[in-house]
Point group: C2
Chain length 351, copies 2
DNA sequence: TTTAGCACTCGAGGAACATGAGTGCTAAAC
DNA sequence: GTTTAGCACTCATGTTCCTCGAGTGCTAAA
């Protein structure tokens, strides 16, 4: 399976020109670009070999060759140069991330948007919490006579609140009592445990009080559910239309639809808990049908200690892998760093 | 300018078949569909008149006619039947809205999604607050030693919070003091007034305390800004691709891009403070360039007493106006009703 | 092992042509 | 005066056929 150096150079030339032009590459073009001092005939022989070995494909008898999924895979694994980002680009990224730091969601959204702009492909983002999230504390604040604010803080430091109206009104001692019950019985419990506890409590608590408790606990459960759920978000979907493989709407539509329906639970393209923090899936390597003809380059990053996020670029198999991976890995590192973790200095790639 | 009854019937037949088929309508088709007992030749004469008066257009000499913007306008204003929604559809809408009632944003998003599904067009939503929003109260909750939660409630009953870390920690009395200052000096102020007050305060307050105050007030100002800003959101963008006028990517792209960039300040398609609560903009009537070839049907609804929202459907000028307006007006009414306002019973349209 | 030469394949692009839907006009019919 | 039938004309669409050329595989010579 080990390819000769010359074969590698040829393959690389083909992949790169195909990435650039989106058109099958013929022997003549390779002869010029690969920097080898051999004739087109020799190249043709080598190309025939590569085709036989499954690294190249012919759309039809007399067109040039295009890389197969295996060809891209080899390119990505062994042949590709790491690209450097320009100063301008790093600047752009940093700006986007530092800007206020605001809320987690918004930073991530913004990150997706910028990445999509500098990579020319759509970008999706996803954040997944660790398995077990619990509520760290409850706070209740009376407002006016007939409503209070319930503030729930989870152990991954997310704080959510809700305005709860109660027809009858509530006295201060009642409120404190409620707060005490919540903080003593529901702190440290997972969603499921909360549900159990609530059930048990129902029988041996005064009905009026129980309903109030249930109201707040249900809200807390929603918050936990919301945290655990993977939030899928996509940016720059229209970038897809820039690339010739999606000029035909029949191709573009399923993928766009897949990226668009943000709310739905997203069968995530691949495990995000593999050790590596950069992952490339080429065409058929994707499980999901909508992605069969596309490649996904994704990187994961840490959000504090308890959560992990994924940010990924979606594009045609003929994607500019070198460019994308460079930008993506810088992005992921920046995100991790900004969420508070120190990174080891990046290893220099040995060339 | 008053058209004969026959001309109206012909125009209506043309608009409706063109809406259904997306293809120029010829005299023969009209003769069959309009329910008039005249020959195609007569129809042709009438169609020639209508073309001259600007209600119809010819793509080229020997194709059928298509409605012009003026034609659609006439159709919408006078000719169109109001459609009834099926029981199933109202059911669907009600489900989508009632489901939990949760947060305002989420309900609206969900509404957009459902509307987009039942109308087959993309839908945008927008919410705009009234002019002056102020903070109604501040609450501060200590968590751990080095952080507290700031809870801000605005006078339109939106509650937001933020976790604020402070290196040194804060004693309980300090916290209460802070809370007192905030509630006495910053409640009832608009964003701009807050800024002023903060500036004045800077000179005559202890530096340490001032920074804390500034931290919270800045957050409150963000909340207010966020409220005032019109939030534009779109759903079902890929529905666009279902319609033949957007099969060509060059047509689809600008519009998709316009709908996609949610974050940006959106030059809103039209005033939402016109008295009417249903508004139809046909093709060139749109100010925005990206919408020049599309129609927008939008309805506004009230969110409580202080805010107003707009929900709109975007599609080709050949849009099924009858269907869309029916669904949209039901939607807008439902939204208004669900946000607490009693509606007068709908007037029966006199036919 | 490499190269030159050559016949072969096959898609892209273009010209020529037929088709047919739809039109406008005119003259006859009502 | 209005409606209708008839007819010539226009023009987008689809089809066929052809050429062109890039690229291939194979063979024989270097």
């Amino acid at each position: 399976m080990a390819l000769s150096d010359r074969k590698k150079r040829i393959l690389r030339a083909i992949v790169e020109t195909y990435i650039a032009t989106a058109e099958p590459v013929g022997s003549k073009a390779v002869a010029e670009l690969a920097g080898l001092d051999v004739s087109t005939a020799t190249i043709r022989n080598e190309m025939a070999d590569l085709t036989e070995q499954g690294f190249l494909e012919q759309p039809h008898t007399s067109a040039g060759r295009i890389p197969s999924a295996a060809g891209y895979r080899l390119y990505v694994n062994e042949l590709m140069d790491r690209q450097q980002l320009t100063l301008q680009e790093t600047q752009r990224i940093n700006d986007a991330l530092n800007l206020k730091m605001e809320e987690l969601d918004r930073v991530i959204d913004r990150a997706g948007k910028v990445l999509s702009q500098i990579s020319d492909y759509p970008v999706f983002t996803m954040a997944a919490a660790k398995e077990r999230i619990t509520v760290k504390r409850f706070d209740l604040l009376m407002v006016e006579d007939n409503a209070f604010i319930a503030v729930v803080m989870t152990d991954n430091s997310v704080v959510k609140n809700k305005l709860i109206h109660i027809p009858g009104g509530l006295s201060d001692p009642q409120l404190q009592m409620l707060s005490a019950v919540l903080n003593s019985s529901f702190v440290g419990l997972s969603r499921e445990e909360m549900e159990e506890t609530l059930d048990k409590m129902e029988t041996r608590t005064a009905p009026g009080a129980f309903e109030l408790i249930a109201l707040v606990v249900e809200f807390a459960m929603e918050v936990l559910a919301d945290q655990r759920q993977q939030k899928f978000h996509a940016a720059g979907i229209t970038n897809l239309l820039e690339h010739p493989e999606y000029r035909s709407l029949d191709k573009a539509k399923p993928l766009m639809a897949y990226l668009s329906d943000e709310g739905e639970e997203h069968r995530l393209p691949a495990t995000l808990d593999t050790g590596k923090n950069m992952n490339i899936l080429i065409g058929p390597e994707n499980v999901n049908d909508a992605l069969k003809d596309t490649s996904v380059v994704m990187a994961s990053y840490d959000i504090g200690d308890n959560m992990r996020g994924v940010i990924g670029v979606v594009g045609p198999t003929r994607m500019d892998y070198a460019k994308v991976t460079a930008r993506l890995s810088y992005f992921a590192d920046s995100l991790t760093r900004m969420f508070g973790k120190e990174l080891p200095p990046p290893e220099e790639p040995e060339e």
